[in-house]
Amino acid sequence: MLADWTQQEVLTGTTIMAVEYNGGVVIGADSRTSSGTYVTNRTQDKLTPLTEYIYCCRSGSAADTQAIADHVRYYLDFSRISQGREPTVRYAAHVMQSILYNNRDNLSAAVIVAGWDEVNGGQVYCIPLGGLLVRQPMAAGGSGSTYIWGHLDAQFKPGMTDTECQEFVAKSVSLAIKRDGSSGGVCRLAVINRRRRTTAHYHARRFAKVVRWLN
């Protein structure tokens, strides 16, 4: 006799977040993937690279968002070769939107595309269910985001430095993890700017920091 959770789709009931600052973006997510009440992966990385400088934060069906991210990565790779320069964040968001919008009836996916490009610096584009595309200075998504909108609205201020943004995102995602049953694990954080992408993991309960540098 099989348990309920084996029959249910794997979802990333999630908290994801992205904030622009002058010179880049800070993105964050929790690390829980659930299938019903079973946590299939407590160390999931929902911050998925589309290019070296553009990431997407995934929420909704894990399978859908992974497949779509692969498609977008393919288009962006092709674009980089044919144009001889890094694709813009706007283009990445547009490609993502066209897939999500044109297949809206068959998908359950909402993403935040965030990154840095030479033309417009740090940008965050939010694509909720249905395929609306809108650029925002700060965006949050996933089931956990509903618990922290008040906190976000109260604490967000424009013109934050990257350190302030990192603290803001880490705190906000941790608060959401506390209250949302579908969000959990650690808060994964990444900073994307001209020079490098750095990642850090914050444990929700203790805000203990483990820093790992990429390249």
């Binding site: 044919s82 144009q83 001889g84 813009t88 706007r90 283009y91 968001a93 547009h94 490609v95 066209s98 033309v119």
Partner: protein, 252 residues
């Protein structure tokens, strides 16, 4: 004089024994027997100008311009067969509009030039079609940089500071080389381009021509604008005056 391609010039899909594609060379001849088109990258913009030779006084003025809008920010000047130029413009417009829709941003000129070149080259490979009998100059002012690309009937294309194609291309290119492009403003560039067209125009062979002018610059905020009205008259008068000065020098 050109070598005769007897026997090897019936098909664009046939090479000659020397490795030439005569149909493509003949397409170049179509460009060379048509009115001169000039493109100049100035300090803060790009100017396109065409010597639009008009064969009858019965035509309405400006009914057949040889400068085309490809997108809001890209313009095209053509020399050669006008219907072929219109076909190229139509393809270029579709590419640019498509790109805008799929990318969410305007098409970079380097991309468009590459697509136009691919198109023109494709028509040199099959016996069922003939090469385009036109050469085009593509211009845009992107991110503060003026850009000019020239595409020839063979499909070959380069990026230029300044270029000319058509009847008087050699004279025009010499005139362009004399200009100090890095210091020339786009507004003055319009006048200089007009002057080059007038000075290269052959009064004897082609009596009547129209001056087609366009500008894409910081002043137009990157939009491709066909020059008309006062600015056109000013440029035209400047060119005619320079011509008279030159003629009166000759008398001495």
């Amino acid at each position: 004089m050109s070598s005769i391609g007897t026997g090897y010039d019936l098909d664009v899909s046939e090479y000659s024994p020397e490795g030439k594609l005569f149909q493509v060379e003949y397409a170049h001849k179509a460009v060379e027997s048509s009115g001169t088109a000039v493109g100049i990258c100035c300090r803060d913009g790009v100017v396109l100008a065409v010597e639009n030779i008009v064969t009858s006084k019965l035509y309405e003025t400006n009914c057949n311009r040889r400068v085309f809008h490809i997108d809001r920010h890209i313009g095209m000047a053509a020399s050669g067969l006008l219907p072929d130029a219109r076909a190229v413009a139509r393809h270029a417009r579709e590419e640019a509009a498509d790109y805008r829709q799929s990318h969410g941003e305007p098409m970079p000129l380097s991309e468009l030039a590459s697509r136009v070149s691919n198109l023109m080259h494709a028509y040199t490979m099959y016996s069922a079609v003939r090469p385009f009998g036109c050469g085009v100059l593509l211009a845009a002012f992107e991110n503060g940089r003026p850009q000019l690309y020239g595409v020839e009937p063979s499909g070959v294309y380069y990026s230029y500071h300044g270029y000319a194609i058509g009847k008087a291309k050699q004279n025009a290119r010499t005139e362009i080389e004399k200009l100090k492009l890095a210091e020339l403003s786009a507004a003055n560039g319009v006048k200089e381009a007009a002057k080059i067209i007038y000075s290269c125009h052959d009064e004897v062979k082609d009596k009547y021509f129209e001056l087609d002018l366009s500008l894409t610059s910081a002043e137009t905020a990157g939009r491709h604008v066909i020059v008309t009205g006062e600015q056109w008259t000013e440029a035209s008068n400047y060119a005619k005056a320079a011509l008279e000065e030159h003629d009166s020098d000759d008398d001495v």
